[in-house]
């Protein structure tokens, strides 16, 4: 099931499909790709901020990033289905 990262429920493992440009030459999308949001990477939302559930604490690979919802909405992901965790071999 394809969805955007900002809609992914907390602590649900998913796989990144792509980062989509909002504007031509979207610098934020480019940076997200450089930070490792590329096809096939495992991603999880670990926590959300105290007000307005923003920002999101996103785990990608071995790194955690604070992303605002606007930023996370650029990342298209595929849910790995229930019961799975993000633990796995590199």
């Amino acid at each position: 099931m394809s969805m955007i990262l900002s809609d992914l429920p907390r602590r649900t493992s998913a796989t990144v499909e792509a980062v989509e440009d909002r504007v031509p030459n979207d610098a934020i999308a480019r940076r997200l790709r450089e930070l490792g949001f590329v096809d096939g990477e495992q991603v999880q939302v670990m926590a959300v901020g105290p007000i307005g559930a923003e920002p999101l604490l996103v785990q990608i690979g071995y790194t955690r990033f604070a992303l605002r919802r606007e930023e996370a909405a650029r990342v298209r992901v595929r849910s790995n289905g229930a019961g799975q965790t993000g633990v796995g071999q590199a």
């Binding site: 940076r31 670990m46 604490l57 790194t63 930023e71 590199a90």
Partner: protein
């Protein structure tokens, strides 16, 4: 082997949080020079290293970067220096690429990007010990073979942890071969690059690295509590409370000590030199003026010690995470939290700390509101006025009215800062998106050596920056206050006849509506150098002989409580929430923004706010019968 006459230029380059600066400290120790890159306020750190072989190295610690496609000034400088394009900066002979061994997926991608530059390079697998503890096994030989450049393990926080790196450096020469492996031509165009780099990173990881789990258990456990919507905010409040306690409680004995030394030095110089203009300049001008600023160094150092420890431990980005939504609503960013926290000690280090904010718009907004945080220099003024005018009484049985007023003054500053940045946000035509994208690194224990080096560097920056400007202004103010001398048959205090005295009388035309008398106006002039000087200036104006601020406050208090109305006192309190009465802060804004326009805007809006707020306070108080 003969020593090379010209030291080999090394550039340390790597992702933020790779332990690059800790490795730099390990390599160069205290032999560091901190300055700025030409034309910008990005910190340039260079140090010397002499290898056991006798070879000399000049090591440059580049700003942390995620990529050679820069998203900030820091990253642009890292890229330009690596490529040898930065004006006035010689190209490095070799790159030392520092990577966090526990976070290779992110950091190896940058290694591959740097390899494309084609310079000789060594990869330092930093935090190798932490990787082993977490059960991460890295086949260094395989990684080295596949990357085509030397790879060594380092532990920046352990003495001797960089030995392998230093040994490997001796094998690198200025003419040594550039890396052989490069991306294929079709992969080097913009679109293909990102995918190709990630594909190659994955291939390297699968060949050389086995990793039992993705994160450290300790990080999971700590984040679960420290980022919790309720417990996380509670923990943040406790941390802040402890810092404030420490800044105000621990610094007092040291500040008393500095005041005693300054006073003693003034007495000694005053006694040793014949009376005259030179004596007065040295004692009343330079020693008193510079001493009045140095006295805040203990508070600033304690605050910075906490901030550095929190930064090294990985907690500060978590605080930014918790507060981002709130601060974004006001036109700031979670990253603004640290500079604004520093500004409670002094706006100067606070404004300097805005360098960690990558977004120029967020950084400017933070610089603009930093002076609204109640800095420690306002405390002596608040203490004098509250002591003289606010009765010592209980409110609702638990609170002390004087304490409540002090708290209200602090809150007024914070609320005003949020309001000002909110207005700035509405005012801007630029509605583009300004990203957060903040990495939350693994928690780690700060190393005392890194804390001490960081603290020393910040202290020196503060002293150097403040020293020059304070010295110049103090001399100017002393001149205004001392000349022309009073005539022999003078009846009033000498200050009445000086330039400052005349200016003070002239200023009452402007300040009468806010309730300031001519004595206050005169005191405001020397108060421009440092706010707390207002207390001793008022004392001078009231023709009292006071050697330090405390003695002045005690004797001055009954005088002003008889002489001033409550409305005037309240108006002056409110004035100090806003007034841009600190030329050192304005000088720092000039340095950090490189623009006189921003200085004019911040001084202008602060002055307008101060005047308006005082006017309202005074007129309302008079209307209510407090005049």
């Amino acid at each position: 082997m003969s020593a090379v006459a010209v030291p080999l230029r090394l550039a340390l380059v790597g992702n933020p949080n790779s332990g690059k600066t800790a490795l730099f400290n390990q390599l160069t120790g205290s032999r560091q020079k901190v300055a700025n890159y030409a034309g910008v306020t990005v910190e340039r750190k260079e140090g010397r290293l002499t290898a056991p072989s006798g070879r000399q190295y000049a090591v440059l610690d580049l700003p942390g970067a995620y990529s050679l496609h820069p998203a900030s000034l820091d990253e642009a400088i890292a890229r330009d220096v690596c490529r040898g394009f930065y004006p006035g900066e010689p190209a490095p002979d070799a790159l030392v690429c520092v990577v966090d061994a526990t976070n290779l997926r992110l950091h190896l991608r940058f290694v591959l990007e740097l390899r494309e530059i084609g310079k000789p390079m060594i990869v330092a697998l930093n935090m190798a010990d932490a990787a082993r503890r977490r059960g991460i096994a890295i086949d260094v030989d395989a990684l080295q073979r596949e990357l085509g450049v030397p790879v060594v393990e380092t532990v920046a926080v352990r003495s001797g942890g960089a030995q392998a790196l230093i040994a490997a450096l001796d094998h690198i020469g200025t003419r040594s071969a550039a890396p052989q492996k490069r991306l294929a031509a079709h992969e080097r165009d913009d679109a293909g690059e990102s995918q190709a780099l990630h594909a190659e990173t994955r291939r390297l990881l699968s060949l050389a690295v086995t990793m039992p789990r993705r994160t450290a258990r300790i990080d999971d456990a700590l984040d679960r509590w420290l980022l919790h919507p309720v417990f996380g905010l509670l923990a943040l409040a406790v941390v802040m409370f402890l810092i404030f306690q420490a800044v105000y409680a621990w610094a007092t004995p040291m500040m008393d000590g500095i005041e005693a030394v300054t006073g003693w030095l003034g007495d000694w110089v005053g006694g040793a030199l014949p009376a005259g203009p030179l004596n007065s300049l040295l004692v009343d001008g330079i020693i008193a003026g510079v001493g009045g600023v140095i006295v805040f160094l203990p508070q600033i150092l304690i605050l910075f010690a906490f901030i550095l420890a929190l930064e090294e431990s990985g907690y500060l980005p978590r605080a930014a995470f918790l507060l981002d939504r709130m601060m974004a609503a006001a036109g700031l960013s979670g990253r603004s939290f640290i500079p604004l926290l520093s500004s409670f000690a002094c706006a100067i280090p606070g404004i300097m700390a805005t360098r960690s904010i990558q977004d120029p718009r967020d950084r400017l907004a933070t610089i603009m509101v930093a002076p609204l945080m109640t800095c420690s220099a306002r405390l002596p003024v608040y203490a004098l006025l509250i002591g003289a005018f606010i009765p010592q009484q209980q409110v609702w049985g638990v609170f002390n009215l004087q304490g409540l007023v002090l708290f209200a003054l602090y809150m007024a500053g914070i609320v005003s800062a949020l309001a000002v940045s909110w207005v700035m946000k509405k005012w801007r035509r630029d509605k583009s998106e300004h990203p957060l994208m903040l990495e939350l690194p693994s928690y780690r224990l700060p190393h005392p050596r890194d804390l001490l080096i960081g603290l020393y560097e910040r202290a020196m920056i503060f002293i150097k920056r403040v020293g020059g400007i304070i010295l110049a202004l103090t001399v100017l103010l002393w001149f205004l206050l001392s000349f022309p001398a009073a005539p022999a048959d003078a009846v009033g205090p000498a200050i009445d006849y000086s330039f400052a005295g005349r200016i003070g009388h002239a200023m009452t035309a402007v300040f009468a509506p806010v309730g300031f008398n001519w004595q206050i106006c005169i005191a405001l002039i020397p108060g421009m150098a440092a706010r707390e000087v207002v207390v001793s200036s008022l004392a001078t104006v009231y023709a009292l002989s006071a050697s330090n601020d405390d003695a002045a406050a005690q004797a001055l208090s009954p005088l002003i409580s008889d002489g001033w109305s409550l409305a005037t006192a309240l108006s002056l309190l409110v004035w100090f929430i806003y007034a841009p009465q600190c030329l050192s802060t304005l000088a720092t804004i000039r340095r950090e923004t490189n623009s006189w326009k921003q200085v004019a805007i911040s001084a202008g809006y602060l002055f307008a706010l101060a005047y308006l707020a005082s006017l309202i306070t005074y007129q309302v108080a008079v209307a209510l019968g407090a005049g």
